[in-house]
Amino acid sequence: MEKLRSFILSLYPTTKFLFAAFMMMTPLLWPGYIYSYLVPVLCLIIAMAAGKTKPYVDFVLKGLVPIVVMIFLLQSFFYPGENILWSWSIFSIKQEGIEFSLQLTSKILAVGSAIVLFFQITKINDLSRALEIAGVSPKATYVLSSALTIIPEMRLHLLRIMDAQRTRGVETEGNLSIRIKAFVPALTPLILSSFSSTDEKAITLESRAFTARTKKTSLHHLEKTKSDHVVRAILLIVFVSILIWRFFL
């Protein structure tokens, strides 16, 4: 188990991306919805093997399940159709609506859970390093990794500001208008202080030759291994066989 876990986590970021892309593309090629519904399950198994069960299940439940439930409710009641399965006064569930919902939600679940899995098994720092190696500008990768490091910092700052504003008498609980009024005094100091810190960041980065047009060395070491080539080869073979089976046979 431990071996499998380190195998999954130590794959090269772009290999993981190719795998996620494979999990997103194949449900769109494969007819029917049984396979598409299997993709989230397969992703769950991989997440379990990688020791990321809890965040994976959390994000799938919070991000995907509400929308899937709503699609089912909206489509099964209001999709135009003849075969009525169940009805109550003006509402009726139709066979066609269920059929359409199954098709649509299976694809959304497959694509969504592949994305969730990808971000759970890939560290953003590794991803940005891999992008840099692939030739993406360090400025772009800086934006990506910096955004992710600033968020938790800013979250703490926000909680502190909210506490401070509460002691000054700003109400944060009560009816809607009170809560909306609390929005601006909490947000304004947070945004103003974060934006004004860009000056210092610019000076710090400049002193480390951030904009200098030279080749930069990185302390972050990232290497493709044999297992990357194996995984890539398997993905390619399976994908090509699916294409051939789908369009030529």
Binding site: F59, K62, G63, L64, P66, I67, M70, I71, L73, L74, Q75, F77, F78, I90, F100, S101, L104, I108, V111, G112, S113, I115, V116, F119, K139, Y142, V143, L144, A147, L148, I150, I151, M154, R155, L158, M162, T172, L176, R179, I180, A182, F183, V184, A186, L187, T188, L190, I191, L192, S194, F195, S196, T198, D199, K201, A202, L205, E206, F210, T211
Partner: protein
């Protein structure tokens, strides 16, 4: 292309992650306060106002990428966020973010663009659902016999216009509170310099 690259100075590149983080944290604040809106593009709008449309577009796009880590359905709405940044940036360049009324008009235009892009995405990709509370509006409209396109469009008109106009108002208030010294370093910061102070303080005094 050259003019686009010119907007991406070091200072404006540094604004992007902060704008993204502001979007995420503001979105969480909305949840903490249980406000039934999104208000999660305020950072994009501030960046678009002071650093131009293209930097704004990137901020919107990266924000949706980050939102997508936690909720993959958000990735489908990346074009909406990018378009909001572009529209706010161009309107700002034209001087349409200089007073409250012009800002309200800009917010209205942003809302129209958002509605035009978000409606087809919601109907085609998600069958009309969005996974948020505003789905009840869609359901009520569908139950009253409206077609799916009309129902989603009407729901979006309600939600997006309130959301975008409020967001840009908050963004404008915050940009107005930035110091002249800070604004003068931004590419389009001169649009918001406090002219009253400007007349009364001599440089070097």
């Amino acid at each position: 292309m050259k003019s686009i690259a010119k907007d991406f100075t070091l200072i404006s590149i540094l604004l992007i992650p902060i704008g993204v983080a502001v979007n995420v944290v503001a979105g969480e604040l909305v949840e903490i306060l249980k406000i039934p809106l999104f208000l999660n593009q305020i950072g994009t709008m501030i960046v678009a106002m002071v650093a131009g449309p293209w930097v704004g577009a990137v901020t919107g796009g990266v924000s949706k990428l980050i939102f997508g880590i936690f909720n993959p359905t958000q990735l489908a709405f990346m074009p909406v966020a990018m378009a909001s940044g572009i529209v706010v940036g161009f309107m700002a360049k034209k001087g349409m973010t200089k007073n409250v009324w012009k800002v309200a008009f800009t917010g209205f235009i942003v809302a129209i663009v958002a509605i035009l892009i978000a409606t087809p995405t919601t109907v085609i990709v998600f069958g009309g659902a969005s996974g948020t509370g505003s789905d009840t509006v869609t359901a009520v409209l569908l139950a009253s016999g409206k077609e799916i396109w009309t129902a989603v469009l009407t729901q979006k008109i309600f939600v997006e216009s309130i959301d975008k106009i409020l967001s840009i108002m908050v963004a404008y208030m915050i940009v107005r509170k930035m110091s002249d010294q800070y604004l003068s370093k931004q590419k389009y910061g001169h649009l918001y310099l406090n002219t009253y102070n400007h007349k009364n303080t001599k440089i070097g005094a």
